[in-house]
């Protein structure tokens, strides 16, 4: 990028120091990327856990997402970092869905696309301290109901209710018009509402 550093040459003042090397180098880029992207690691990981429903797959997807994001950080021009990261993560997750669909034709019920989930899709394999908070009856049953939502309603709901993203940001991430996001969210909440009300019924 020529013409980006006229300052240092035009004013070789003794009190001028470029910290962290020249602006274009890998270290500077990596530091900027860290400052911009790492504060959202928990957000990205949370969405990965919801979308993939598996801790190990979620970790792989998040790492892949951050590596891709770093690679494309040079050309990143906005809008905002978090939706940008989540859009990359979503691509990674969809690639994983495709891989699962191909490699496990027999285990169809692993697929989030299988909407009419009969068994709870949300299952923790082990009771680690991290998951203990989710074992509480309420959070757990809410988790299960959310997990039973079919795509693309599930992802829309997670981005809205778990990530608190605006409709505009969700539209950016899922690459769909805002109107589509609104109708998907309405469908998602309507489905969840049925499950919600059904859960209340038998207890009386």
């Amino acid at each position: 990028m020529p013409g980006q550093r006229p300052a240092a040459r035009a004013h070789p003042a003794a009190n001028t120091t470029m910290l962290f090397g020249s602006p274009g180098d890998d270290q500077t880029k990596a530091r900027r990327f860290r400052d911009a992207a790492l504060p959202y690691l928990d957000d990205v990981y949370t969405v990965a856990r919801y979308l993939l429903r598996d801790p190990a797959d979620a970790e792989d997807a998040v790492q892949e997402c951050y590596l891709r994001a770093l690679k494309h950080f040079d050309t990143y021009r906005g809008p905002a970092i978090k939706p940008w990261l989540l859009a990359i993560l979503r691509n990674v997750c969809h690639a994983e869905f495709t891989r699962r669909a191909r490699s496990a034709a027999t285990a169809i019920d692993d697929l989030p696309e299988s909407g009419e989930a009969t068994a709870p899709l949300w299952q923790e394999t082990e009771d680690t301290p991290e998951t203990q908070a989710l074992q509480k009856r309420d959070a757990n049953s809410i988790q299960r109901m959310i997990a039973a939502l079919p795509e693309p309603f599930h992802e829309t709901f997670v981005l809205r209710e778990i990530q608190n993203l605006s409709y505009r940001e969700i539209a950016e991430i899922v690459d769909a018009p805002v109107g589509t996001v609104m109708s998907r969210l309405a469908r998602a909440r309507a489905m969840l509402r049925s499950a919600w009300l059904a859960e209340e019924e038998p207890s009386r």
Partner: protein, 253 residues
């Protein structure tokens, strides 16, 4: 409004995404429609229940380390301070993640922005993060921003007026690149964040206290300014007064 329309729009109402006119229409419909009123009640209950639970996950430490290990390592920054940076990153996102607070504040862009500005200020105070270009010369700091931002912030030397110019930094607020001009008053750092705004009207400076820091913000010449510091409110006001006067005298920086 029909029930079909209300079925979609009441979600935007719940989420604070509707403009005032449509919000009134939905509310009018709900006032006269028991079906939609019941739906709205359940949706609000659901939302409240979800907000009350911790529905988020924390990235495991080894995942942070894996990502970290895959990145080019910065020169002149010890591993120790990098980890401090990570700790801060997670503290910041943990703050943002405290469920119901984040949801209540969500539609209040200004408040969210203010807390992001405090976070950026805190980040900058970590070792090695305060300045990208370290110079007390405004003619060095100003051109440094050129090419890094669409609009480079006005850089004004206020040293003679009691506020020492330290340098400049490229920062991120709300996920967007933003210029920060760094000043010092005694031991107190002042970060002056400057961002372009389509709003050209002048807005006089006012101070608010956010998480124990003072933020003084004003708008001038199509730019939004936020000065943030742990400096007391009077001296921060003095800073913005002097900055604004100097900017006028300079003919817009």
């Amino acid at each position: 409004m029909t029930c079909d329309e209300s079925d979609i729009l009441l979600h935007a109402l719940i989420d604070g995404e509707l403009d005032a006119g449509h919000a009134r229409e939905v509310e009018n419909h709900i006032a006269t429609c028991a079906r939609c009123a019941a739906a709205l009640r359940t949706y609000r209950d659901m939302k409240a229940a979800i907000a009350a639970e911790d529905m988020r996950f924390t990235a495991p430490a080894h995942l942070r380390q894996r990502i970290e290990a895959a990145m080019p390592q910065p020169r002149g920054t010890s591993r120790r301070s990098l980890l401090a940076g990570f700790a801060m990153g997670s503290a910041v996102s943990a703050m943002a993640a405290t469920g119901i607070v984040a949801i209540v504040l969500r539609t209040d862009d200004e408040q969210r922005l203010a807390s992001e500005i405090v976070s950026a200020h805190l980040r900058s105070l970590q070792a090695g993060h305060l300045t990208d270009v370290l110079s007390t010369d405004q003619h060095t700091v100003k051109p440094w921003f050129n090419g890094r931002l669409d609009v480079s912030p006005p850089v004004i030397d206020l040293t003679a007026l009691g506020f020492t110019l330290i340098g400049g930094r490229l920062d991120y607020i709300d996920g967007r690149a933003i210029g920060a001009v760094v000043y010092k008053r005694r031991a107190h750092v002042i970060n002056l964040f400057v961002a372009q705004t389509p709003n050209a009207t002048h807005s006089p400076a006012r101070t608010e206290d956010v998480q124990g820091f003072n933020i003084r913000r004003w708008r001038d010449h199509g730019l939004n300014f936020w000065a943030v510091s742990d400096l007391n409110a009077d001296e921060l006001a003095e800073f913005s007064d002097k900055f604004e006067k100097a900017m006028q005298a300079n003919g817009n920086g």
